[in-house]
Symmetry: C4
Subunit: 372 residues, 4 copies
Amino acid sequence: MREVIEIGLGRNAQRGYHLPDVAIVPSRRTRDVDDVSTAWQLDAYPFEIPCVAHPSDATMSPATAVALGQLGGLGVLNAEGLWTRYEDPSKVLAELADLDEESPATRRLQEAYTEPILPELIGQRIAELRDGGVTVAVRVSPQHTLTLAPVILDAGVDILVIQGTIVSAEHVSTTDEPLNLKEFIADLDVPVVVGGCTSYQTALHLMRTGAAGVIVGVGADDWATTDAVLGIRVPMATAIADAAAARRDYLDETGGRYVHLIADGGIQTSGDIARALGCGADAVMLGEPLSLAVGAPGGGAWWHSAASHPKLPRGAFGAAQASQGTLEEILYGPADQPDGTLNLFGGLKRAMAKCGYRDLKEFQKVGLVLDS
Amino acid sequence: MREVIEIGLGRNAQRGYHLPDVAIVPSRRTRDVDDVSTAWQLDAYPFEIPCVAHPSDATMSPATAVALGQLGGLGVLNAEGLWTRYEDPSKVLAELADLDEESPATRRLQEAYTEPILPELIGQRIAELRDGGVTVAVRVSPQHTLTLAPVILDAGVDILVIQGTIVSAEHVSTTDEPLNLKEFIADLDVPVVVGGCTSYQTALHLMRTGAAGVIVGVGADDWATTDAVLGIRVPMATAIADAAAARRDYLDETGGRYVHLIADGGIQTSGDIARALGCGADAVMLGEPLSLAVGAPGGGAWWHSAASHPKLPRGAFGAAQASQGTLEEILYGPADQPDGTLNLFGGLKRAMAKCGYRDLKEFQKVGLVLDS
Amino acid sequence: MREVIEIGLGRNAQRGYHLPDVAIVPSRRTRDVDDVSTAWQLDAYPFEIPCVAHPSDATMSPATAVALGQLGGLGVLNAEGLWTRYEDPSKVLAELADLDEESPATRRLQEAYTEPILPELIGQRIAELRDGGVTVAVRVSPQHTLTLAPVILDAGVDILVIQGTIVSAEHVSTTDEPLNLKEFIADLDVPVVVGGCTSYQTALHLMRTGAAGVIVGVGADDWATTDAVLGIRVPMATAIADAAAARRDYLDETGGRYVHLIADGGIQTSGDIARALGCGADAVMLGEPLSLAVGAPGGGAWWHSAASHPKLPRGAFGAAQASQGTLEEILYGPADQPDGTLNLFGGLKRAMAKCGYRDLKEFQKVGLVLDS
Amino acid sequence: MREVIEIGLGRNAQRGYHLPDVAIVPSRRTRDVDDVSTAWQLDAYPFEIPCVAHPSDATMSPATAVALGQLGGLGVLNAEGLWTRYEDPSKVLAELADLDEESPATRRLQEAYTEPILPELIGQRIAELRDGGVTVAVRVSPQHTLTLAPVILDAGVDILVIQGTIVSAEHVSTTDEPLNLKEFIADLDVPVVVGGCTSYQTALHLMRTGAAGVIVGVGADDWATTDAVLGIRVPMATAIADAAAARRDYLDETGGRYVHLIADGGIQTSGDIARALGCGADAVMLGEPLSLAVGAPGGGAWWHSAASHPKLPRGAFGAAQASQGTLEEILYGPADQPDGTLNLFGGLKRAMAKCGYRDLKEFQKVGLVLDS
């Protein structure tokens, strides 16, 4: 029974569950790990692992986006990040890698992002991605979609990611003509992934815009401060399951349009990936876990896209940590640490095998247990 | 369904929720942040932000009360604090700013407040407030209201704040003639704010005294020790929602008298402000968050009014911290830290925008989610 | 509704609440603190405060038991402690006061208690208590009651305390003739306090033995390890409320015999005392809080009676802390610390006043709120 | 009522309880500790204490397995551990004992286990166990059962333990002929213990394979990382109670075949043992608690069998701690520490006595209380 709690007289709140609240439950069958598939497909693009990169400059450069694509995932470059503000961002990246976590780090981040976005650099970066021979995905914010999308589309992307902390299908503005997602997407030739969102209703409305994928969550991790700054804290297990219900209902109302859910928030380990998919996600968006790869642009440092907001930063700067291994080791192992941060998709595969599932779609039905 | 729990045979307790237990939920609409208003009005006095200062000497001097008023909030000076005990409290304030958190700090606080209250200083301080050209609010305790109110009123305040840890509409005493709030308020020309209270019933009774505003909560923050000393720990989300139900019922029984709720307790960040208003408060009372402003009278130190009680102190002394920014930066940003303690009302505005609300009254209906 | 949870198929557990889970709730009335009474009476013996000492050698010597009696509480000397094993225990007490918390402390405690109990010393100690002119209470374990009680009774006590970790009205033994509490108490002229117990049923059965008072709980505090060693962890709020139901039912079945409940466990602060009484206790048993008084026999160190068990110690040794004040200051203030450990009964009085109650019996009906 | 929670629309999770969530409840009777029996019997093999060793090389050598048997428990040697890979593993064990907890420890563990398993050493180790005159039990993984079991059985074991993280009665493989447990066990002369499992259904299916004992849990302790790596976290109180329901149902469907449950996970103290048995287990599997015995092969270090997995280690290496006492002291005391890690079965006995129970089977019905 869905829990609605009366927190005060006549005032209700819905109970929500976070990913660490749940665990997956092995059932009566087990399976060979080599018989398990983690393959996934978004629109026409197949992937070996359900891994989408969170478009932070700390992890995504043209080079690492290509590397991730070559390893079977989907890299996403931020069209409003450092790579489109600086001809060569390596100097500013190196400087950020040297910062510690004290207050000036946020101020330095804010400064780094005051440089204007140069449209010509967007084209150049997309060309670099294309040259890598992988599926090309670029992120743009809802506010800048109308301005930047033409440039991005001209440069030729495969997937457009329209992502803000919270995106709705109905943005109201008294000053600007707001982005009408439905019309915008209808006019496009490329599939669009849009989000984040946090509820059944918003997910359903975003699906109705024609999006191929919907991002669930606001990307909150240990460094995010959305809760402290905005009072918004997304219980990801519930948000994913609610969005999965929207996917089911939308599938029914359209007679078969399947919109993919990409969970973005609270995912640090292979166990978390198993939890998110077990709750109903089709793929996960990984941020900080990829920052520990050898060659990550941030040199081991981590920051959220919202961490550099000029007036209201909503993410703490994570000072550089030693790299844990190559990107391949992080994704596929072998792991020489037992904490679930290496061999992320080997861990997922084994979790699926221990629970007797063969593919991701089946695994969305895995049993769940909830801590008291 | 309201949760009443049988904690033992035949003994019930009501489940209560704290502000950190809840989060606000974006809905299907978003809005431009510039279209959002945080305006608020108490009786005839309009404010740009729903911010009332907790009347601690650590944050409220005549000068800072004026500054807060000029920035759109409501400063409140304690008529029983250091400013009415010392001609020039700057020396004692400087000394307090130098104390660390060890035990003698409380003893020194207790000593500082043994100086008698000088009625002539009350008049003088109020004159200083008036000269600032802002709405003038002064706090007096229920015990001293009958004695001090005449002096205060003569000096000309706009709003009288009668505040104790717990104030009821029915104080029983065998020795003194207790303050009859209803009669007292009926005889006054100025609006009265009264509290704290913690339940539907007390809130309703206080509304029936004719108060223009009711304070919900006992001002408990990380430094308060009301729980350890008295066993009283107010679940603020529940207390606010219950008081909001009282406000609704009182509005109905009076055919339209709207009493404002000021939440006092557990509010440290912009996220907490969003939570408190989302639970039904009309404004928040801020204590420690204002102590970090440049020029705060306590020089960065923080103490609760109850922390200096001569026999039963109920708040720990918070040793001086470095100031985080000007009062304006604390209220309106820009923030150069991501922890929710700067740009408090910019954060609120953005939270409202992300949830699609335009003004505070609408925002009281925002969806809430409760952690498991 | 009482919560019975099916933790696994066909296996139930009852939900229990600890004292920190609850808080007391002010109601619509407040009261002058000077109009509040904390008086309490056990059998023919009146006390100013509902304070019974836990019979640990760390706090109870003949001298401190007398001092506590003179201050309005009830001191209890352990007839099986150091004072009846050593002619002059001051040397061993001084040595214990010097120990730190590392492992040898328990071993040293164990050694100290290997000295045999000397019956003549029991008589001598009781004489010292009598000379103090206070109500004389002595503790004996159920195992040694048949052997030691004659000596104790001959020496003339006012109240006999039969206390073990868990005492039942029906002890089964295949080797010894077990203590039949009912017959034993029926033959006595002095009132008996017996416990600890943890449930409605055991409390009721102990009441039916004719006891004047029943101890609820196993005296668990931060130093107790009953949970780790025995798997027994008493949710005190529930245990007290359940025992209060037993008191009510026993009152009914006897047509008016009121058995007093003494809560022993989890009580560190004045707030905890308010919670325990609010849940239905008539008095509280204080252990460690009294160890911080100037002149405590343990010199600031604290150990539970069960901490010296020769084969299965169930309490950690708490190394000596600086004294916080005189016994009088601990009980009645003034407090110069805000943490609830000083002015314990002044804090209780103020809690009662803030909730509008006049005496302890009324206060047992105070509203309770439960954290989520 | 069993709690099924709808964590999101149409998505359920079952509430599960961990051992620390529960405590045992004394009832109306108490009993002499000397009248309590902890005896237990598996198939034809009687044991004085319900203690089975977790087959980690850190605690189980041929010598310590014999020592545990002589003290009344059941030692289990890992047929795939260091003792069957090295003629003399003492050097590698000594080296592991010197490692600290940093990352290379896992890498060194992984290396140590790359040596091949030598079948002739299996025979030799079993002979050493036989020479000790105790019940001989050897552990093999499900993957290697078909290969290694002939060698093991030829060498003459009393009990075969087939143990993996998760074992099901229905393993599916497209490449290898999977182990058919039911047929395998039917053909054997020796009783088989099999597991771990985590649910009613898997436990029941494993019972139907003909196993004499079923291991409940995945052996998770403070060092295990199954949750982080696989997303699998077993609420042991619930898992044990569910498996006990399977035992009951299987007893009914077979008209009297009683399968023993061995709880493996979350058991560190005598209190935990009491909890696990109180939830319905017949015996407990102890890992890390035995690593603190004088003469433990790991020299005080602790590692889980899964901690050395070559690609996906699932347990942290616990660097060597000082031994707490002899194996006898750990099992039977006397304890000179109060933390529940010494005198494990003396503590259990006393817990049973305090609750009035005489033997383990009765004690499975002890009252349970659940924290809020």
